[in-house]
């Protein structure tokens, strides 16, 4: 447990020292969403119709941008190798890193979401659904994304390859999240959609740490 | 035969463009895959032959150099 606490503390300390790097995906998130009212016109009905989709696509893209941070610096300065050869379970350590990454990089996106819901004229019911889907769905992005980041950490130009690998995998999440918010817009129940996203989260929580650990061992072999 | 004439066969009841486009692309893609695999194999095997010939030449050159040195030593 002390190892996990130490790792978490280290991750937060590093994140705090790299505040400006953390801000970049956040600003990207806001800018991309702001592009849509400019592109399709400011009519509230249109924006409300495309709103959930736009916010979720922007969230996925910004997360993809921020995911590389997870292992890149540690790979380059050797601390990733130290994690591998430590006697702790690598799956547990990777889960800790994913948690730290989610809290530092992706929770700010969720914190900003009310503002962006306002930009896109989402109603209050829609916003609650959006918040629920973001809270349940973004950890899936972090967990599954970490697998791909672990595989590509040693490559020099992994950025676009990461997106190419992960976008097909995130499509079901996108579909269920946006249809949950759309159902909320029509005053229909959306607990079913949330249950499916929660199921994806549980599956990812159970399997991803092992896959991430294996991916890291492959990359550092 | 379901068709009365060759022309009817090619026309496919008005849908000729789509049917022949599909069949053509499907069969062409399989042919391309086969062709590229077969060419790769031929090229890889030829690569081995070329490399072996090169090794032979190197070995022969080395032997010739050794014999020459041997003769020089005998003369000296």
């Amino acid at each position: 447990m002390s190892a996990i606490r130490a790792l978490l503390y280290r991750e937060f300390a590093l994140a705090y020292r790299q505040r400006s790097e953390l801000l970049q995906p956040l600003i990207f998130f806001v800018m991309v969403i702001s592009l849509f009212p400019l592109a399709v016109g400011p009519a509230p009905q249109t924006l409300q119709m495309i709103g959930p989709g736009v916010i979720w696509v922007a969230a996925i893209l910004s997360s993809l941008m921020g995911l590389e941070r997870m292992f890149r610096d540690d790979y380059h300065d050797g601390s990733l190798e130290q994690l591998l050869i430590s006697s702790r379970s690598l799956s547990l350590l990777s889960l800790t890193k994913v948690l730290a990454h989610w809290l530092s990089s992706i929770v700010p996106l969720i914190v900003l979401s009310p503002l962006l819901a306002l930009f896109l004229h989402l109603s209050v019911e829609m916003y609650w659904a959006l918040l629920a889907t973001l809270l349940l769905g973004t950890p899936v992005i972090s967990l599954v994304g970490a697998i791909a980041v672990g595989l590509t950490v040693g490559l020099s130009r992994g950025g676009v390859l990461l997106a190419l690998l992960l976008v097909p995998v995130f499509i079901p999440l996108l579909i269920f999240a946006t249809s949950a918010v759309n159902a909320a817009a029509m005053q229909l129940p959306y607990t079913g959609h949330l249950a499916i996203i929660a199921a994806m989260l549980l599956l990812a929580l159970a399997l991803a740490p092992f896959a991430i650990a294996y991916a890291l061992r492959v990359s550092l072999s | 035969m379901q068709f009365d004439s060759i022309n009817a066969f090619f026309a496919m009841g008005g849908y000729g463009l789509y049917v022949w486009l599909s069949f053509g692309l499907g069969l062409l893609s399989m042919a391309l895959l086969w062709g590229s695999a077969w060419l790769s194999k031929k090229r890889l095997l030829q690569q081995v032959v070329i490399e072996q010939a090169r090794q032979t030449r190197i070995n022969q050159a080395r032997q010739a150099a050794n014999n020459h040195d041997g003769k020089n030593e005998q003369q000296n």
């Binding site: 994806m200 | 035969m1 379901q2 789509y18 790769s40 010939a53 032979t56």
Partner: protein, 260 residues
């Protein structure tokens, strides 16, 4: 129980097996493909609803089935490679990937060509079309990941992990897109009645499916042989093999002195 498979973990035995199977699969595949196409195009009866355009089914359905079969095969090979550390399994996986991608592409194109006269549009976000498109992206992702590594062992393992992540995701994708499509129902509801097919349409279809499988298996055997050769090109058994074949002794030029 699986001991008879163990020798094929060795590249030399694997290559020999492919060499023995190749003539059977390629000849049978080509002959059955020709028979199947002629049967479907000329001898199967016309559909009363769709006329002669339904004949695209004899290319479309086999390629769709094969695309999913290829991905499953690729994932199975990846699993075997990752769990039992069998190198030839990774070679098989990467040999299947381009074939699977091409077959998926064919299914998309033939689907679009069939959709145009039937639905009036080249593209529709139908559940199956969308799943096929995502399958194509998954194939391309595995190939791209494999090619970005310099070390071939690392590449195999990384691409294997990605193939397995994709296979877990594939049923999720399929059902999510199906539910999404019914949520956004608005597409035309034309019955492409597959279960309720009369036997004289069903038989050529099944025949075409089998013939496509044979053709793709033949191409896979060739591709696997190529991958084995690429990795083992300097090894003695390959040199011995080439000498036995006596390929292109004319290539040796003036320096040949009966050494080869």
């Amino acid at each position: 129980m699986w001991k008879w498979l163990h020798p094929y973990a060795k590249t030399e035995r694997c290559y020999a097996l492919c060499q023995r199977l190749l003539p059977w699969f390629s000849v049978l595949g080509l002959v059955s493909l020709v028979i199947g196409c002629v049967w479907g195009l000329a001898f199967a009866p016309s559909d009363y609803q769709q006329g002669d355009s339904y004949r695209i089914i004899f290319i479309h359905v086999p390629s769709a089935i094969l695309s999913k079969a290829m991905y499953s095969g690729m994932a199975a090979a990846a699993f075997i490679g990752l769990v039992w550390q069998v190198k030839t399994a990774f070679m098989a996986m990467i040999a299947m990937a381009p074939i699977g991608a091409m077959v998926t592409f064919v299914s998309l194109i033939t689907g679009a060509a069939w959709g145009k006269p039937m639905w009036g549009t080249w593209w529709e976000w139908d559940a199956r079309l969308t799943s096929q498109l995502i399958l194509l992206f998954l194939f391309l992702g595995v190939i791209a990941l494999y090619k970005s590594f310099n070390d071939v062992q690392q590449a195999g393992k990384a691409a294997g992990v990605m193939a397995l992540v994709g296979i877990i995701n594939l049923p999720i994708i399929h059902y999510s897109v199906e539910w999404w499509n019914t949520l956004h129902q608005g597409a035309t509801i034309l019955k492409m009645g597959k279960p309720s097919m009369p036997p004289d349409m069903l038989q050529p279809l099944l025949f075409c499916i089998v013939s496509w499988m044979l053709v793709c298996a033949a191409i896979f055997l060739l591709a696997l042989q190529n991958e084995i050769l690429r990795r083992d090109i300097r090894r003695p058994w390959v040199i011995h093999l080439v000498k036995g074949k006596n390929i292109g002794t004319a290539q040796l030029g003036s320096t040949s002195r009966g050494q080869i």
